[in-house]
Structures are given as structure tokens and as C-alpha cells.
């Protein structure tokens, strides 16, 4: 970490973005008091991470880089163990485990050993464990990393519905569902704000041109236009990144001139991933 200073308001989903090795996981470990900072200070829920880490861990739920599930134990036993850790009574544990596993469609499989489950199911169970004891704040370290697109989408939906249902503050190392985003590189905060603001502030205008007859020569010609930052062809459309204030009309004209047929033109701002890439490029430069 390098003079990283940020404040996350209660009740929001905060997304922490950055390339591999940027310090996202280290930040979570520092905030949980699992690592000690060489200097500086941080507080979570009003508690100091150095001296009151036990109080922080009492009030938070965590899903770190790995699911952290005991694979030789059943799904129910895994949750029961963590329920005991957080001193929930037997009846509380039973009710809460049933509520969460039913919500995630895992209740009928609660007696199965976790080791036999798919990665997606394990992550779902880990999310249930994270929320089991009604924490005030949850830390999620790239919860959908390594999942196939279907499992990732399902987990994102589960997370979104559970977070809304539980009304919990979330600090996660991904931008899905985030109300506020922080972008970090080499331990330094590059940008902070809500995703729409960042898109407007940092993202360049985009044009998506749909049609047919697009050629490599045409893409090359587009790249040499003064208002174009980048152009590429993907399947049946052209993606063009524009400079601020550039007009898309001359580009359409060029395409038609070169024999292309334009059926639809969409304009908009870059998505958050493009913003992230732009920030990385800026910082590198």
C-alpha cells in the first residue's frame, strides 16, 4: 500500500478495482487485522485494525480468494461450524442455514460432502457462510473469479439479491453491483467515485456500428481518422473509441464509401472495464 486513503460509507456496495498484484487482497487482509501495516492506520466499523481487529472480525463476514470450505465436511456441517464460531444458538443456526440454503437452491444437497460440488456451488455456499451471522460488513475478494460465465452470472444474481435482502455493507474486489468504485494500482488509489461518474469522467465516447461488408482495410482507414482513438471489428460490428467531441458521421460516410453497409449506429460511453483500462494506461504513461 502506498498512501492509500479512502472512506467507504455504510450501507453501500464498494467495488475495489485493480490489476493483479495491485494490493486489493492485501487491503482486505489489512482491514481484517490479518496483516499489520508498517505505518499508517485504518479503522473498520469504528474499530482500529491494529488494536481492535477481534472486534472487526466479530462483525464482518469474509469470502477471500478461496472459498475456504472444509471439503471433507457436508455443506450443512460447514455452515454449522461457522454458526458456532459466531456463537449462534442451535435453533438460530438451523433456521438461518435453512433460510440461506433455500435461497440459494442448495437445501436439498445440504448433506453432501462439499468436495464433490462444482466450483460455482462451492462459491454459493461460501457466500451463505459469509452472511450466516448477519454481519454488518462483508469482504468479498473476487467472488466470481474462475467461474464459467453461467456460474458467474448466477452467483452475481445470488449476491445481488442477498445483499439487497440483508441490507449489508459490501467491500468487494470487483465492480459488479458496486454503488461506488475505487481503482488502485501498485497500492495507490487512482480514482474514486460512483461507476456512472467515473464512466463520464474517465471513459471516452464509443460508437458501435452494425451492418455488413466491413473489411480489414476499412478498419485500418478508420484508425487513421483524426477523431478515432481505436477501431476494431468483432463479428458483425465495428467498435470505435472516439476522441471527446468527435462526430461519428464522417466515419459512417467513410465506411459506405468503401463498400460497407451500415444498418445501425449506437453511441455511448465506455463501460467500467474500459475506464479501468484507460486509467491503467494513463498511469503507465
Amino acid at each position: 500500500m502506498n498512501e492509500l486513503s479512502l472512506e467507504v460509507p455504510a450501507g453501500i456496495v464498494f467495488g475495489f478495482l485493480g490489476p493483479n498484484g495491485a494490493g486489493k487482497t492485501t487491503t482486505i487482509q489489512l482491514l481484517l487485522g490479518l496483516l499489520e501495516p508498517s505505518r499508517g492506520r485504518a479503522s473498520v466499523l469504528g474499530f482500529d485494525t491494529r488494536t481492535q481487529a477481534d472486534k472487526i472480525r466479530e462483525r464482518t463476514g469474509t469470502l477471500l480468494e478461496f472459498s475456504g470450505l472444509y471439503e471433507r465436511m457436508s455443506a450443512e456441517d460447514n455452515l454449522d461450524f461457522y454458526g458456532r464460531i459466531y456463537q449462534m444458538s442451535a435453533s438460530e443456526r438451523r433456521a438461518r442455514i435453512k433460510e440461506l440454503l433455500t435461497h440459494l437452491d442448495l437445501w436439498d444437497r445440504r448433506g453432501e460432502r462439499v468436495g464433490t460440488w462444482s466450483r460455482g456451488m462451492k462459491q454459493q455456499l461460501a457466500v451463505a457462510r459469509t452472511l450466516l451471522h448477519h454481519p454488518q460488513l462483508v469482504f468479498l475478494d473476487e467472488p466470481v473469479a474462475g467461474l464459467d460465465p453461467i456460474a458467474a452470472s448466477r452467483l452475481n444474481n445470488d449476491l445481488a439479491s442477498l445483499v439487497k435482502h440483508e441490507g449489508v455493507t459490501v467491500f468487494m474486489n470487483t465492480h459488479n453491483m458496486a454503488d461506488q468504485v475505487g481503482v488502485i494500482r501498485q497500492g495507490k488509489l487512482l480514482a474514486l467515485g460512483n461507476p456512472d461518474e467515473l464512466r463520464l469522467k474517465q471513459g471516452r465516447p464509443q460508437a458501435e456500428i452494425y451492418g455488413h461488408g466491413f473489411t480489414t482495410r476499412m478498419v485500418g482507414a478508420l484508425k487513421h481518422q483524426p477523431g478515432v482513438v481505436h477501431a476494431e471489428q468483432s463479428n458483425s460490428h465495428l467498435s470505435i473509441t472516439l476522441r471527446d467531441g468527435s462526430d461519428v458521421g464522417p466515419l459512417v460516410h467513410l465506411i459506405v464509401q468503401q463498400g460497407g453497409v451500415v444498418e445501425e449506429v449506437r453511441r455511448g460511453n465506455a463501460d467500467l472495464e474500459d475506464v479501468f483500462l484507460a486509467l491503467m494506461e494513463e498511469q503507465r504513461a
Binding site: R57, T60, L63, F66
Partner: protein, 242 residues
């Protein structure tokens, strides 16, 4: 205390399921050889808890506990469950004592099983017309020794596991260490009872010798256990292997 018992419960579940079918088979072979075959071969000395009976029981228990203890922390780290456990509210002391407690319970289970199986097998095969039991003083000393040996194996195993980068490294260190301790104690006691003490006119009975060993191991247990408690630190554990 409640946290420690939560850890003991979870660790016991994990210990009993470790190794799957192979693990159960290994335990079965150990109990069959140490608790049935050997006692039947030397049944008269076994019933007196003489000859190799007590060393065999303690050695088998020690080996089993130390092998499982090697896996306690480094195994959790390799299976990626340690970090999540450390991120929970469980205190350092409860995690450590829970792990040691489960291992000691597991070891005592083996000690009890070996004694019970041996007694049952001999009673059935060599029926004397009446029930014969182990000498009470030696039985109590064996159980006491079982306890301190298990605490030593568990604490030393956990201590090594805390500092090792891989489970394999921990197991290798503990195998070598276990052999050195076993042979050291055995030959040390033999030397003590056969030459050193007789040379100054002291002759110890088996019960006195075992009581001496019990006292010695209790002191070592306290030292190793304290060391493990001091050495256990979340932030250090997080940095190992990084």
C-alpha cells in the same frame, strides 16, 4: 471455552474423515496389530502391562497423533481453509487449543482402544475361568503417560506445522524428530535403570520408573505447549509461504 470446544468438534470430524477409506483401513490395521495380534502373542506379559506392552501402546499413539498434527495448520493452509478461519472471530488461543485438544482426544481414543482390545482378545482366547484385569497402578500410569505423550505429540506437531511451508516438510521433520525422541527416551531410560541408578544403589520398580517418566514428560509438555501458544500469531501465519 466454548470456542475451544467448537474447534475440537470440527477438528475431530476432520480427523475421523482424513484419508478416506485408506485412512480407516490404516487405523484398522494399527488396532488389529497393536491391540489384538501382539497382545495375543505375548498375552501373559501384556496382562501385566510388562515387557513391550506400554512402550508399544505409547509408540503407536505417538506416531498416529504426530502424523495428524503435522497436517493441522500447514494442511489447512494447503487446502485454503486457514485464511478464512483466521478471518473469523475465533481467538488465536481457541484455534490452537482446539486443534491440540482434538489431537489429544484422538490419541487417547487410540490408547484406550489398544488397552481394551488387548484385554478383550486375551480374555476371550486365553480364558482363565475368571475375569483378569490389568494391575490398577500400571493401568493408571499407562493412561497418564498416554495423556502426556499425546499432549507432547500434539503440541510439538502443531508447533512444527505452524512453521512449515508444506505438509510434507512438516511430516518429514516430525518423523525424524519422533524417532530421535522415541529412541532417546528408550535408551536413556534403559541406561538410567540398568547402570546409572544401580551404580548409586537405587533400583526402581516399573511403576516408579513410569512415574518418573510421567513427571519428566509433564515438564516437557508445559514447555512445548507454552512455546506453541507464544509462537501462534495470525499475521505470521498469513505471511508464511508468501
Amino acid at each position: 471455552m466454548k470456542d475451544t470446544s467448537t474447534m475440537i468438534l470440527k477438528e475431530t470430524k476432520e480427523l475421523l474423515s482424513q484419508g478416506g477409506r485408506t485412512g480407516y483401513l490404516t487405523s484398522l490395521v494399527l488396532l488389529a496389530v497393536g491391540g489384538v495380534v501382539y497382545p495375543l502373542i505375548s498375552w501373559s506379559s501384556w496382562m501385566q502391562l510388562g515387557s513391550l506392552a506400554i512402550p508399544l501402546i505409547l509408540f503407536l499413539t505417538f506416531q498416529q497423533v504426530v502424523a495428524s498434527a503435522a497436517d493441522s495448520f500447514v494442511g489447512e493452509r494447503e487446502r485454503h481453509t486457514l485464511e478464512t478461519l483466521l478471518a473469523s472471530r475465533m481467538s488465536d488461543r481457541a484455534i490452537l487449543l482446539g486443534k491440540i485438544g482434538a489431537l489429544v482426544g484422538y490419541g487417547l481414543g487410540i490408547t484406550f482402544s489398544l488397552l481394551l482390545l488387548g484385554w478383550l482378545a486375551i480374555t476371550i482366547v486365553h480364558w482363565q475361568g475368571r475375569l483378569v484385569f490389568y494391575p490398577l497402578d500400571l493401568l493408571l500410569l499407562t493412561l497418564g503417560l498416554g495423556l502426556v505423550v499425546n499432549i507432547l505429540a500434539a503440541s510439538a506437531g502443531v508447533l512444527v506445522s505452524l512453521r512449515s511451508a508444506t505438509a510434507r516438510q512438516a511430516q518429514q521433520m516430525l518423523s525424524v524428530g519422533g524417532l530421535v525422541v522415541t529412541f532417546g527416551v528408550t535408551f536413556g531410560l534403559l541406561e538410567l535403570t540398568s547402570s546409572l541408578l544401580p551404580s548409586v544403589g537405587i533400583v526402581l520398580s516399573l511403576a516408579q520408573l513410569l512415574a518418573l517418566l510421567l513427571g519428566l514428560l509433564t515438564v516437557i509438555d508445559i514447555i512445548v505447549l507454552t512455546l506453541a501458544l507464544v509462537r501462534f500469531q495470525r499475521s505470521r501465519l498469513m505471511l508464511i509461504g508468501k
